[in-house]
């Protein structure tokens, strides 16, 4: 978002400057609703109770795709030694974080990795999670909730959850993606979930001590590595499933919580998909903003650029994934709903 505003500033010849600050997803939504901001952005859609307060008055749409990788530190099977990455499923990941699978040599892990089975050490798994509330945790736990019902019943999902592995096994927390990454890199026999972008710029470090897992999409039974193509495939498939279920693409002024649920664990592709959503008011004048016409026109120009030019590889920060055109079109439709 920050890079976009910088590039846009250059593209418009320095005429339009968009200020963006990263203050956390929950705060972004709250500040937008408090009308302290002209637009909001969040890793999760507007929460349902808040949506109901302002239903119909605002639009929300994805602007970029993110994903989450499962990184592990098991020196015995490090990618640089074996040339292989682990295969994992939602069930196994969930059971590790639930404290039910506690050792790397667990038969359920071995069964998924016949090629590495004899090398998996009988060491306790250290399950690392975020200690701060985060959109990453929300997307990760939503995926586990959808793909493994027992997780939904015992843990559920959100910015912060009560990790059973903390009580029953060696679960531990760390602050921010950088904290989890550092804890995983530093702690032998650990596993952690890290934002795709964070891993993409440092792949080698992880390959030295372990790697990132192929995750099985339970819907088509195939294992997917977190690549840009596989994540984009997942996002497009998620939209298809939504359209099949509800008959039409999601409306920008609808509640997007069901949409994000359809996108998680999609029918094919890498199964952990997350979006960054943008919130805009439909009618800036009616919401009491000063100079509403100019504001709306500038916001529309900026996000039109983001959804078209901004999706080109040269304008996207490494580690984020451009929207398939089917999803970008929802955003363009949303912009049409914003009163000039």
């Amino acid at each position: 978002m920050f890079t976009w505003s910088k590039t846009f500033y250059q593209v418009t010849g320095g005429k339009i400057q968009v200020n963006y600050q990263s203050i956390g997803s929950g705060a972004g939504a709250a500040q937008f609703l408090g009308k302290n901001l002209d637009f909001g952005a969040s890793d999760v859609p507007m929460p349902k109770d808040k949506y109901q307060q302002v239903a119909g008055q605002f639009v929300q749409f994805p602007v970029i795709i993110g994903s989450i990788v499962i990184a592990y530190n098991v020196p015995e099977i490090a990618y640089q030694k074996t040339g292989k990455y682990l295969n994992l499923t939602a069930e196994v990941i969930a059971l590790i974080y639930m404290g039910n699978i506690t050792q790397w040599c667990d038969p359920r892990i071995k069964a998924l990795n016949p090629g590495l089975a004899d090398k998996l050490p009988c060491k306790d798994i250290v399950a690392v999670h975020r200690s701060d509330g985060s959109g990453t945790t929300a997307a990760f736990t939503l995926y586990l909730s959808k793909a493994y019902p027992a997780w939904n019943q015992t843990v559920s999902w959100g910015y912060t959850v009560n990790w059973p592995a903390d009580q029953k096994a060696k679960g531990t927390g760390a602050k921010g993606n950088e904290g989890v990454a550092q804890a995983v890199l530093q702690t032998p026999y650990s596993i952690g979930y890290i934002e795709f972008a964070y891993w993409a710029t440092n792949k080698d470090k992880y390959d030295q001590v372990g790697g990132v897992a192929f995750v099985r999409n339970d819907n088509d039974g195939k294992y997917y590595f977190p690549t840009t193509e596989n994540v984009a495939m997942g996002a497009a498939a998620g939209l298809e499933r939504y359209i099949k279920k509800y008959g039409a693409p999601p409306a920008p002024d609808a509640d997007w919580n069901p949409v994000s649920i359809e996108f998680s664990n999609p029918p094919r592709g890498y199964p952990i998909v997350s979006f960054t959503y943008v919130f805009l008011w439909k009618d800036y004048a009616a919401e009491g903003y000063g100079d509403a016409a100019t504001k709306a026109a500038l916001l529309k120009a900026f996000f039109r650029w983001v959804l078209t030019e901004g999706q080109k590889p040269e304008n996207i920060v490494e580690g984020y994934i451009p929207l398939p055109s089917s999803i970008a079109n929802i955003g363009l439709e949303a912009l049409n709903m914003v009163k000039p």
């Binding site: 509330g133 959100g158 009560n162």
Partner: protein, 307 residues
């Protein structure tokens, strides 16, 4: 709302207080004192008001429970209080000997020319932004401590980020505070006392011990100043404490959370939940009351020692 009330109170108060300072010094000072007490009272009242929804729902259970499950809106802050106590205890145990050592070294061992430079350097470390300590803890101290502890037989530090890591980092951060107070006191030991100590044949080490006993009030002052810092430190601790907000633990080699780091870690997204903000304010209330209790104990001890 309460913030506005504070500001509104502040303006006529300042005018009155400054007026009185020039007219009648004693009453001016009393008014200032009363204002400080009122501020603490108002702050506590604000915490109570903000925490009211969860206290109304759960009663005092919120202070006595160890739970943090936003998905089920179930909160408790006892584990965080335990974390605050444990990290502060580790920090004080490590920091006080260091602070005493620094104070004695500067006053006794270093040549007079270097004292000023060394003293200002120690003071300078106190002014370093805490986030820098936090980053250092994240990338250097945590991993180093983990390797060291796990090198010992039976040393089980599963993560680089534990209550122990936070305690050691805090010790490094608060040592200059305690050292500054003790150093100032140590330098004030009257020359005749010092000469008398040496006259009865004390070694340099014995003399230092006697002088330290002479300035024990300064040591206590430094102790409580440093303890206050340790209990309240937020950013650096949040980065290295691990953050297992739902588990009560008394093992310092496990990840945990302190009250202030719990607030720092959970506040940004707390507004998305109905009862999390009140629960965090309940934590703030608990920390304030705990801090007041510690200070009351400090005043009691100091008065008793001064008989």
């Amino acid at each position: 709302m309460l913030g506005l009330l504070l500001v509104v109170l502040l303006i006529p108060y300042l005018i009155a207080a400054y007026g009185l300072l020039f007219v009648k010094l004693r009453w001016g000072l009393r008014l200032f004192g009363a204002f400080i007490v009122a501020t603490i009272g108002l702050l506590t009242a604000m915490f109570l008001v903000e925490a009211y929804p969860i206290i109304a729902r759960d009663g005092v259970a919120v202070f006595l429970r160890t739970s943090w499950d936003p998905a089920r809106e179930s909160y408790g802050v006892l584990q965080a209080l335990a974390g605050t106590v444990l990290t502060s205890a580790v920090a004080m145990a490590l920091a006080m000997p260091m602070a005493l050592g620094v104070a004695v070294t500067i006053n006794e061992i270093l040549p007079a020319r270097l004292r000023g430079i060394f003293g200002s350097l120690v003071d300078l470390t106190a002014t370093m932004p805490t986030v820098i300590y936090g980053l250092w803890g994240l990338f250097v101290l945590g991993p180093t401590l983990q390797s060291l502890i796990n090198y010992l037989p039976g040393g089980m530090m599963t993560s680089p980020y534990t209550l122990f890591t936070a305690g050691v980092l805090l010790a490094i951060m608060i040592t200059p505070y305690a050292a500054a107070v003790i150093r100032e006191g140590y330098a004030l030991v009257p020359k005749p006392v010092e000469e008398a100590v040496y006259a009865v044949g004390a070694t340099r080490f014995e003399a230092a011990l006697i002088k330290l006993r002479y300035v024990r009030n300064y040591i206590l002052g430094g102790f409580f100043l440093a303890l206050g810092r340790a209990m309240g430190e937020t950013v650096a601790v949040a980065m290295v404490v691990g953050g297992n907000y739902a588990r009560f633990t008394t093992n310092i080699f496990e990840s945990g959370v302190t009250i202030s780091s719990l607030i720092a870690l959970q506040f940004p997204n707390a507004a998305s939940y109905q009862y999390m903000v009140p629960a965090l304010f309940a934590g703030a209330l608990l920390l304030t009351l705990f801090g007041l209790a510690i200070n009351a104990a400090a005043i009691y001890i100091i008065q008793k020692w001064q008989i």
